[in-house]
């Protein structure tokens, strides 16, 4: 039987890490992810994990130590937010190219500047092309579940890539919700042992990691890395199916909510999906054909599946909680429109809203503004403004 609890997203993440019992956790405090290493340090202090906790002097060293630990043959984990993730930047790419399945909790926060501690996705969105798998979480439960699946995905021999589980800073990281936890033994059995084929601590077969890789081989290695990211999609689906059999909780590449006969659909990431679903319910009660698509897997990007799913709608709004400053829409929007174009799908009218930057509250009436606009587009077929901002004072 599952254990019913009430936990914040950070505590749920830390408990997942405790149940996973990694070899090394190296982390540095930064709001709003600080609680994760705090909780974890208390598990170490109480002897309830076997982990070496490395209280590093920066996020740069956190990721550097994780790379050393994972290459050594251990499981390494960390947690960070915003500028902490930015300070790791250089190493994110090295972790991915070295094919080290490090797992990180990314508690999304607005990236400076100006400095702001509240939620948006500008931190993780900047890391979208770093070679990390990115899973996003609407709720505390999803943050916990994604963390339990993380190692199975990252460490799969066809993948061997680092993975970040993202959730919204404060909104889920600090809010306490009901949650179902798995028993420790079930987590242990599900996650399994990490037995890498090659590792530094294997004295029988020493290896060298991190070469100078010049014109003759670099390109092939990057292609292999790209293939691994492609392979990750099937592995994510397989692991999610196994997790469903264990828990009854179903996860795919994205979640479709009331989209079956929908004309107007909002596509978005993380906790605002909850608000959108609430508004969708109200609109449905009024007979309006609206739905929600919530992206869970952003890297690898489910290009075929998302294009197929969107093909049946008349109007789609992609909501980005990060700006790209490219004068052409946010990152999720450009990925989605690119997917539609590449698949030759020109039916749905697609617009973009940048929303919620720096933790600007997103209320039900903000979502209503989007649905009203979409329903108008669906009815008239006319599209006047593609790139929009939601809830900002002009």
């Amino acid at each position: 039987m599952a254990i019913r609890e009430r936990l914040s997203g950070n505590e749920a993440t830390a408990i997942a890490m405790k149940q996973i019992n990694p070899d090394v956790v190296a982390a540095f405090p930064i709001t709003p992810s600080t609680e994760v290493p705090q909780y974890f340090a208390s598990f170490v202090a109480d002897g309830s994990v076997d982990t070496e906790f490395v209280a590093v002097e920066s996020e740069h060293s956190a990721m550097s130590a994780c790379i050393g630990a994972q290459a050594a043959g251990g499981r390494a984990m960390t947690a960070t937010s915003a500028n902490g993730l930015a300070l790791m930047w250089e190493l994110l790419y090295i972790a991915a190219s070295s094919r080290l399945p490090i797992v990180m909790a990314t508690i999304n926060r607005a990236l400076s500047g100006p400095i702001n501690i509240h939620n948006d996705h500008s931190d993780a969105m900047g890391a979208r092309d770093s070679g990390w798998i990115q899973l996003y979480s609407e709720t505390n439960q999803e943050a916990y579940d994604n963390m339990l699946m993380a190692h199975r995905i990252a460490e799969h021999p066809d993948v061997m890539l680092p993975l970040m589980v993202c959730q919204d800073g404060f909104i889920t990281s600090h809010a306490i919700e009901n949650i179902d936890l798995l028993e420790d033994d079930k987590v242990k059995a599900f996650v399994g042992e990490y037995n890498p084929e090659h590792y530094l601590l294997n004295k029988e077969n020493p290896i060298a990691v991190g070469p100078l890789d010049l014109q003759p081989y670099y390109f092939e290695h990057k292609k292999q890395q790209a293939e691994a990211m492609k392979n990750a999609k099937k592995v994510i689906l397989d692991v999610s199916e196994e997790f469903y059999k264990l828990t009854g909780r179903k996860y795919g590449l994205f979640e479709e909510y009331k989209t079956d006969d929908a004309d107007a659909v909002i596509v978005l990431i993380n906790s605002t999906a909850g608000t959108a679903k609430y508004v969708a319910d109200q609109y449905r009660a009024q007979g309006k054909k609206v739905g929600v698509i919530k992206i869970r897997v952003y890297r690898p990007f489910p290009v075929d599946e998302i294009a197929q799913a969107l093909s049946k709608f008349k109007a789609v709004a992609v909501l980005d909680k990060a700006d790209s400053f490219n004068a052409a829409g946010g990152p999720l929007f450009t990925d989605i429109t690119s997917a539609l174009y590449a698949k030759g799908i020109f039916g749905p009218k697609v617009i973009n809203y940048i929303y919620g930057l720096g933790g600007r509250d997103v209320r039900t009436n903000d979502i209503e503004v989007v649905y009203n606009k979409l329903l108008e587009i669906a009815e008239t077929g006319k599209l006047d403004s593609v790139y929009n901002y939601l809830g900002v004072r002009e």
Partner: protein, 311 residues
């Protein structure tokens, strides 16, 4: 065990030949002699900062390292090796590995005194059982001889060129060995390529086999950057020591021991005149700069004598 040069010389090299370091470079000599101090039965996980050493010894698909080796980035060799050491502790506790593994990080002065100083300081303070070896050649040699905080005053480098108005680097050299001694580590030492390598070998052995963090600063002359004749590697190294530009000493649990005091301390110009990077100091009218360097060397030597209770 007393140092026996024949026995040590017969130990197999753990950094093999065929790497691409320059002739007359001190760095691979430092590495080979540090690694000789490992017990043959012990495995090592060795890290290197980005730099000449890394890009010349591990060019895919070749490696000159017979132990396990990891290069991560420029500024994080210490943090990287600290993570590997942490994994070792955890995996040993879980019974997943057995036998002894030692952890050694190498970095040049750029990767150690400058961009990697934070990572080094953090790893040492956290008390990992590891050795950090700085091979100090006094500039960013890999990128083409740019000044670092280890570059001596008035040295001519590509970012502190000796020009018509400015006579090379204007700032004195950072004393990193003292910075590390003030981390209160179990073992800190400064050494060089001298004689039959007894000093380097013995300090390496102490650094590797003293439990906890240890730091070695080894002067590693660079023929390109210093502009000396490549066969003169050992001679230029010797002059650094005989002039007390680079004293040999160690700090064991806070106690300073000077390992070599020249009977006849030579003027620093004997060291400087062998090197093209100081050529401009020997022009007429620049005597005051030589005098200033001499005063700085004397001041630092006397301070060291006081720390060791010998003045």
């Amino acid at each position: 065990m007393a140092y026996n040069v024949k026995e040590v010389a017969q130990k197999p090299d753990r950094l093999t030949g065929g790497h691409r370091m320059c002739a007359g470079c001190g760095a691979p000599v430092v590495v080979r002699n540090v690694l000789k101090a490992l017990k043959p039965e012990d495995h090592a996980v060795i890290g290197s900062a980005t730099g000449c050493l890394e890009v010349s010894t591990f060019i895919y698909p070749y490696t000159a390292w017979t132990d396990s080796f990891i290069h991560n980035a420029f500024e994080n060799a210490a943090a990287t090796i600290s993570g590997a050491e942490a994994a070792y502790v955890a995996m040993k506790r879980k019974g997943k590995i057995n036998g002894e593994t030692k952890f050694i990080a190498f970095g040049g002065d750029g990767g150690t005194y400058d961009i990697g100083l934070q990572s080094l300081s953090g790893a040492m303070e956290r008390g990992h059982d590891m050795v950090y070896v700085c091979y100090d050649n006094g500039a960013y040699m890999n990128t083409g001889i740019q000044r670092s905080s280890a570059t001596p005053k008035y040295a001519d480098t590509t970012t502190s060129p000796a020009g018509k108005k400015i006579p090379g680097k204007l700032q004195p050299r950072k004393d990193l060995t003292e910075v590390m001694a003030n981390h209160h580590l179990p073992y800190v030492a400064q050494t060089a390529l001298i004689g039959n390598m007894k000093d380097l070998y013995e300090k390496s052995e102490k650094a590797i086999y003293t439990p906890g963090p240890a730091f070695l600063n080894v002067l590693a002359p660079c023929p390109r950057g210093w502009r000396y004749n490549t066969p003169d590697l050992m001679e230029v190294s010797k002059m650094a020591v005989e002039t007390c530009f680079w004293p040999l000493y160690e700090v064991i649990d806070g106690k300073y021991i000077i390992n070599y005091k020249p009977k006849n301390k030579l003027p620093v110009k004997e060291f400087l005149k062998m090197q093209g990077r100081f050529k401009h100091l020997f022009k007429a009218g620049n005597e005051h700069m030589l005098e200033e360097i001499q005063q700085e060397v004397d001041r630092r030597w006397e301070a060291l004598l006081r720390l060791a209770g010998e003045a």
